[in-house]
């Protein structure tokens, strides 16, 4: 187990360093003068000079990459072109809103998706199973921004029961929670369907195994068999995809934040692209990548923790 953990962590660290280097050469990936690429053709000469110096674009490319990676490791992601504030300050202000949204959505998805999947698996091909399946597929294919717009239309504008705009303030937790509801549901919808489907499939697989038949033969009640014995094994694949899932969740969060005017990382990225404020785009992209890599790492590690067979494979590799 120890070796597997170390291997996995080392690999993640390499990927993180490489993503930093990737973002370091980012402006050079597109043909043309990087300053023009970043600022667009209509930028003033003065601003071009500032940006060239600010981002080390007058130095050789390897030096730029080195400076960016070393700076990033020390928590320095450069400065905002417009306000001159450190990018990290802006990121720190946005990050909590995005993390809260992502965690709430993932929580809601697990809370609704798992029971739905278990229930569907206990009565396969019953009418509840059929309905669940249709709902799951529809939710899975529902783009987050379409779901968000529909929720906004129905609950905020049509019924007027929930606020449409802004994330609220941490000093007023009740208001903040109320403003979190619609974005959370919009973002979680895909995952409710996905988890329900995943849990159903792996439950059906587990329920066909011998130890379940034994448990039934011994006379255990269905409820105990389903929730105590079967679900424990059936949940493992779900844990594994949650890591990858966080990636699509963070992608979807961009849309949901824009639709509900939440001042999170997604809104920050989109606004910075529009205003061609490249250091912010780069910094926010890096932070999201860090979260994604970390989530994948945790999912993999907990996967190995939950399923001893993975650990053994890791050792032999």
């Amino acid at each position: 187990m120890g070796r597997y953990v170390v291997q996995r962590i080392a690999l993640s660290a390499i990927v993180v360093l490489l993503s930093m280097a990737f973002l370091g050469v980012f402006a050079h990936l597109v043909p043309g003068d990087p300053v023009t690429v970043i600022l667009g053709p209509r930028a003033s000469e003065a601003l071009s000079q500032t940006v060239r110096a600010e981002m080390d674009l007058d130095k050789p490319v390897p030096v730029q990459v080195w400076n960016f990676v070393v700076g990033a490791l020390q928590g320095d992601l450069g400065n905002d072109f417009v306000s001159g504030l450190p990018v990290t300050t802006l990121l720190a202000a946005s990050l909590p809103h995005t993390v809260i949204l992502a965690v709430a959505s993932l929580g809601l998805a697990v809370l609704l998706g798992v029971p739905l999947g278990v229930y569907a698996a206990t009565r396969p091909n019953g009418w509840i199973d059929r309905i669940t399946r249709v709902i799951s597929v529809s939710l899975i294919t529902l783009p987050a921004f379409v779901g968000g717009l529909f929720l906004l239309l129905i609950f905020a504008i049509g019924l007027g029961v929930l606020p449409a705009i802004g994330a609220g303030n941490f000093s007023d937790p009740v208001d903040y929670a109320r403003r979190l509801i619609l974005p959370t549901v919009a973002l979680a919808a895909t995952w409710i369907g996905y988890i329900a489907r995943l849990v159903r499939t792996s439950m059906l697989e587990v329920l066909g195994q011998n130890y379940i038949r034994t448990a039934r033969a011994v006379g255990l009640r269905d409820r105990v068999i389903f929730y105590k014995y079967a679900l424990k094994n059936a949940i493992i694949p779900t844990v594994a995809v949650l890591g990858v899932g966080l990636g699509s969740l963070l992608g979807g969060a961009v849309f949901v934040e824009v639709i509900f005017s939440r001042p999170g990382l997604g809104t920050l990225i989109v606004d910075s692209i529009t205003s061609r404020n490249f250091p912010i785009v780069r910094g926010a992209t890096l932070v999201i990548a860090l979260f994604f890599v970390l989530a994948n790492l945790l999912a993999d590690l907990s996967y190995g923790f939950l399923d001893p067979r993975i650990r053994v494979q890791g050792q032999s590799a």
Binding site: V137, P143, L149, G245, G251, V281, R282
Partner: protein, 303 residues
């Protein structure tokens, strides 16, 4: 919709290459989910081809006196803030949706295929290096990577194709690599090599045919994701630009006036939903019919 409940295909159907196209179609149409997908996709293709004949107005024809109307006999779905006919814009929008998604996914497939074959076939340090590169690109969620690339490239239809291709390519490379690795182990590959076949012949005759079919199934399943990403980027204003009638642009226009009229958001949203649902169901049914071994592989909804 009964994707999982569909009867398991018989053993003789396991090999996708021996199953004739007509039979695949019949098998797909026999299942409710497949039939739904087929109807939606064929319908969309018909609209793509005959959009000018089907649409009652030009996509960008403005009649400012008719602005922001609800559904009526002359404008079946109403009009937008410039008096453009919503139904016509949605119909022409199919050309943008498919015209971006299809080339993007195809480029991703070809690029990923090349990288995957190189990595899987050569092995050794080349393989290790390429895997790390794929890991790095995939460290960025697809939408985020697409956004960051668009920040540099600038918004345009062509650039949307490029960024979708780049962010989807590692997925294909990974699957292609895995398939090459398992195909390479077959005895007949060793036999060919013993007979003096070169790398080109082994890849072209033995490896490619074995991995292309599964990759095309992935392509079918990736199309709805690509359509969603294009609409999403255009919705955010960093993708396809107005007045081009992309569904994302229509949603963005509708979002700006969502308190005045719900119709643009409602109709464009539903169009997008039905499209992704149809493509997903067709893709999943195709996968079940042609190659059930791939059942474990599911593409992520990247929206």
């Amino acid at each position: 919709m009964a994707v999982e409940a569909s009867p398991a295909p018989q053993a003789s159907r396991l090999d996708g290459r021996t199953l004739p196209g007509a039979q695949v179609l019949r098998e797909v149409a026999r299942r409710p989910a497949g039939l739904f997908g087929l109807v939606v996709v064929v319908g969309l293709l018909v609209i793509v081809i005959f959009a000018p004949q089907l649409a009652p107005y030009e996509a960008s024809a403005q009649r400012i006196t008719d602005r922001l109307q609800g559904p009526s006999a002359s404008h079946l779905l109403g009009t937008d803030e410039l008096g453009r006919d919503l139904l016509s814009r949605l119909l022409f929008g199919t050309r943008i949706a498919l015209g971006v998604a299809f080339p993007a996914v195809l480029v991703a497939l070809v690029g990923g295929l090349i990288v995957g074959i190189i990595a899987g076939y050569l092995g050794g340090w080349v393989d290790k290096a390429l895997v790390v590169v794929m890991d790095t690109v995939q460290a960025f969620p697809a939408v985020i990577l697409a956004l960051a690339l668009l920040a540099l490239l600038g918004p345009s239809l062509q650039n949307v194709v490029i960024v979708i291709a780049v962010s989807f390519a590692p997925g294909y490379a990974r699957v292609a690599r895995a398939l090459v690795l398992s195909t390479k182990q077959n005895l007949y590959v060793d036999a060919e090599r013993a007979l003096g076949a070169g790398d080109g012949r082994i890849i072209g005759v033995h490896i490619l045919p074995n991995i292309v079919a599964p990759l095309f199934i992935l392509l079918a399943m990736d199309l709805p994701a690509a359509i969603t990403v294009e609409a999403g980027l255009s919705f955010l204003g960093v993708g396809v630009q107005p007045p081009t009638p992309s569904w994302g642009v229509i949603l963005a226009d509708g979002f700006d006036r969502i308190r005045v009229t719900p119709w643009p958001v409602l109709t464009a949203g539903l169009t997008l939903m039905i499209t992704t649902l149809g493509f997903t169901m067709l893709g999943e049914t195709l996968r079940d019919v042609i190659d059930p071994r791939l059942a474990g592989i599911r593409r992520w909804n990247r929206g």
